[in-house]
Amino acid sequence: MASETVVIPPAELPEVELYHAKSWITKYVFSQDAKVIAIQYSGTAVLIGLVGLVLSWLMRLQLGFPETFSFIDESEYLQYVTLHGMIMVVYLLTALFLGGFGNYMIPLMVGARDMVFPYANMLSFWIYLLSVLILVASFFVPGGPTGAGWTLYPPQAITSGTPGSDGGIILMLVSLVFFIIGFTMGGLNYAVTVLQARARGMTLMMMPLTVWGIFVATILALFAFPALLVASIMMLFDRILDTSFFIPMIYEMGEVIPREGGSPVLFQHLFWFFGHPEVYIVALPAFGIVSDVISTHARKAIFGYRMMVWAIIAIGGLSFIVWAHHMYVSGMNPYFGFFFATTTLIIAIPTALKLYNWTLTLWKGNIHMTVPMLWCIAFIVTFLNGGVTGLFLGNVSVDVPLSDTMFVVAHFHMVMGVAPIFVIFAAIYHWFPLATGKMLNNAMGQFHFWVTFVGAYLIYFPMHYLGFVGVPRRYYEIGETTFVPPSAADLNAFITIMVLIVGFAQVVFIYNLLTSIFSGKKSEVNPWKATTLEWQTSEFPPGHGNFGDELPVVYRWAYEYGAPENVDDYVPQNIHPDKVARKPIAE
């Protein structure tokens, strides 16, 4: 890259005085330091994520061994399904990628001391925590949490035939409202920090892809969540004040319910106007992180950086005009199918290009098979698999037989469950030394990886075929039918056993995390020899204010790996060109 000729602009503004904590409480509890907020966000997200994980075990026990566990009845099963989905998508993945990695990585990677609005950033976490507590509270109200499915489709979500239609659904909606308020405070921070607080020399096209991914995902979330916010509030009105936003006149439990004019399909449009970008809110940070981790551990410049950036932006833009591919069989105007199938398949092009570029980054690289790298490869496998099955479901008429079957469950778990979670693991193994100064135990890391990767593939790959058979999703039990062969029960039992094994591997992971913080091997500074700014701080791990007395100045892009004219195989972004050791030029 011709980065050496870049002229570094002078600072436009003097530095803003950083907030300094005066007490233990303001330093570690009501902290305004993005790194502490990131850990708070991540810890809370992982804890509630573990609840989601346990719910999935209960669900799988029922599916794998029906009529065995008397403590699981149909309404409890539906409650597990609902809360598992909602927790994993919103309270774990969104919170962890944006609140966790966003807070930790953005200021460090763009060369800022902190987020630009630290106080709002702190509030963001505490409101998120409140939303989690409200969600947890719904387990303890009479009737329990809502069992309407994570999509919360009305009228079912608020009518009496659905579990949790008393208090559960109200708390669910209130919790979402708080989550969105909290997220907005954080989200504005992430976007403005990227736009306004970058180090001198850090042009947008020099930012690491991690920052690009989180930045564009944040913008998507800021536009998408309001749709969910209004939908939640309107449904609360329908539930509490008997309004008719989503409820037409219905005949329920032997009675005509005198509402008029509401449209259940309207809710679905609002939900998926949020819900589809939500997929990319989770995926784009994962795309960014995986690009950086692959590049670092393959010791090779990311292939096609500019195209990678434009692909992120293109995917982000397109993600707002594909939402109704979740609604091909919803009863919406069938002609929408033509439009949404076309836009949906177009989005496959930039997405495929990203995938090609990751594999091409491996081409002629010098690949360290570290644990973070293993997770990245596993991500590519599962994301490719999930992307391919997305081409089935996105293609309107192919969707018809597969919609609402286990094929859909397998698809979205592969593409937005397993794949992003693998990136989260890659990121944790990659950045754990930065955050703690310790290395994670490698043997436990290898064990965790192989069991999780092979296990997850064995869980979800065969599950698609249950969908081809026609097994519907969200079924407490399939029972006797004319079309499901008895062998499907064996497959279900196998899947459940694999789920429990993979679950055990996560216990090993948590144990590894906790013990390594205290007794892990001490990490050297910049153990992966990475170029990005977060590894170039004056203290290691980075302290309050991130960069000591002087903010870094950026001279080159984030992927200077293996450049032939340099002595070292990597050059950090902030090393002055005069200080880079060059090979003597051969005459």
Binding site: Y153, P155, Q156, T159, G161, P248, M249, I250, E252, M253, V256, G262, P264, V265, K300, Y305, M307, V329, S330, G331, P334, G337, F338, A341, L345, I349, A352, L353, Y356, T359, L362, W363, K364, G365, N366, I367, H368, M369, I377, L391, F392, N395, S397, V398, V400, P401, D404, P462, Y465, L466, V469, G470, P472, R474, Y476, E477, G479, F483, L491, D569
Partner: protein
């Protein structure tokens, strides 16, 4: 190295599983073979990409594994290659989308000669209505619904009087196209017969439709494919596809709307009074809570 081997195993294992697993589309019983064909096309195009990308990656992991003596090649971009790859992908997308949209056009365009049959769903049971001798379904409204009139048929509409009401198994005759009009009374449901391939949500407040031609005589399950509350998984029905003679025989045994009203009238009048008294009481309670 290990990872490269595992990737090859994944490719071989996935393809082998696809070829030999006992779990595959249940034999079709309608005209929607074209949907199955688009699935096959999609499998071929995406399957090739899946195999090629994974094998390429396995090769890279093996060939370019870490060697301290070596340096990776510095090649930040190759615009031409990226354009080629995007172009090929676009070509694949066109190959998928074209059959997809053609079949969708058929799917949403019922033939004129299709017979209309209404399917109604409520928590957690199915009902069916046939147009009767006049070939026209009577108009309906939720307002008319009660125990006597479970379909909410307009009692003043002459077209509705001869409608056949079926609360048991639905029978269809082979090779006659049918347009199903789908109606839900309470929450979302979805009319789903796996062997027919077609499916569509049933939405309170509107009438949706699908069309198909059953072409194989047999007995099939009807399932609800859209989550509809605690009875969702047990909301089953049966559809029997049979030849004309059997179908005509079955048709004769069904009762019309006016017959059912006449038969029910005497029995139900007393019950209605009781029900309305209970409802009054409930209204009283709900005012107080």
């Amino acid at each position: 190295m290990l990872m490269a081997v595992v990737l090859v195993l994944i490719v071989v294992g996935s393809v082998a599983f696809h070829l030999v697993s006992p779990w595959w589309s249940t034999p079709i019983a309608s005209n929607w073979g074209s949907i199955d064909t688009t699935i096959d096309i999609t499998f071929w195009i995406t399957g090739v990409v899946y195999v090629v990308v994974l094998l390429f990656m396995a090769y890279c992991l093996y060939r370019f594994r870490y060697n301290p003596q070596r340096r990776s090649e510095y090649q930040p971009e190759n615009h031409k290659l990226e354009l080629w790859l995007s172009g090929l992908t676009a070509l694949g997308v066109v190959g998928l989308l074209t059959p997809g949209l053609i079949v969708w056009n058929d799917y949403i365009t019922p033939p004129d000669e299709a017979t209309e049959i209404e399917v109604v769903a409520k928590q957690w049971e199915w009902g069916f209505r046939l147009p009767g001798k006049d070939g026209v379904l009577g108009t309906t409204n939720i307002r008319f619904m009660n125990d006597e009139n479970p379909f909410g048929i307009n009692p003043d509409d002459p077209a509705g009087q001869d409608d056949l009401l079926i609360d048991d198994d639905l029978h269809l005759q082979t090779d006659k196209p049918i347009k199903f009009l789908l109606r839900a009374f309470d929450v979302l449901h979805n009319f789903y017969v796996p062997q027919f391939r077609a499916k569509m949500d049933m939405v309170p407040g509107m009438i949706t439709y699908i069309w198909l031609t059953p072409n194989r005589a047999d007995t099939f399950d009807i399932l609800c494919a859209e989550l509809c509350g605690i009875g969702h998984s047990s909301m089953r029905g049966i559809v029997v596809v049979e030849n004309v003679a059997d179908y005509e025989q079955w048709l004769k045994e069904q009762i019309t709307f006016s017959q059912s009203m006449a038969g029910l009238n005497k029995k139900i009048k007393s019950e209605v009074k009781l029900v309305s008294r209970i409802q009054d009481k409930q209204a009283l309670f709900s005012v107080h809570d």
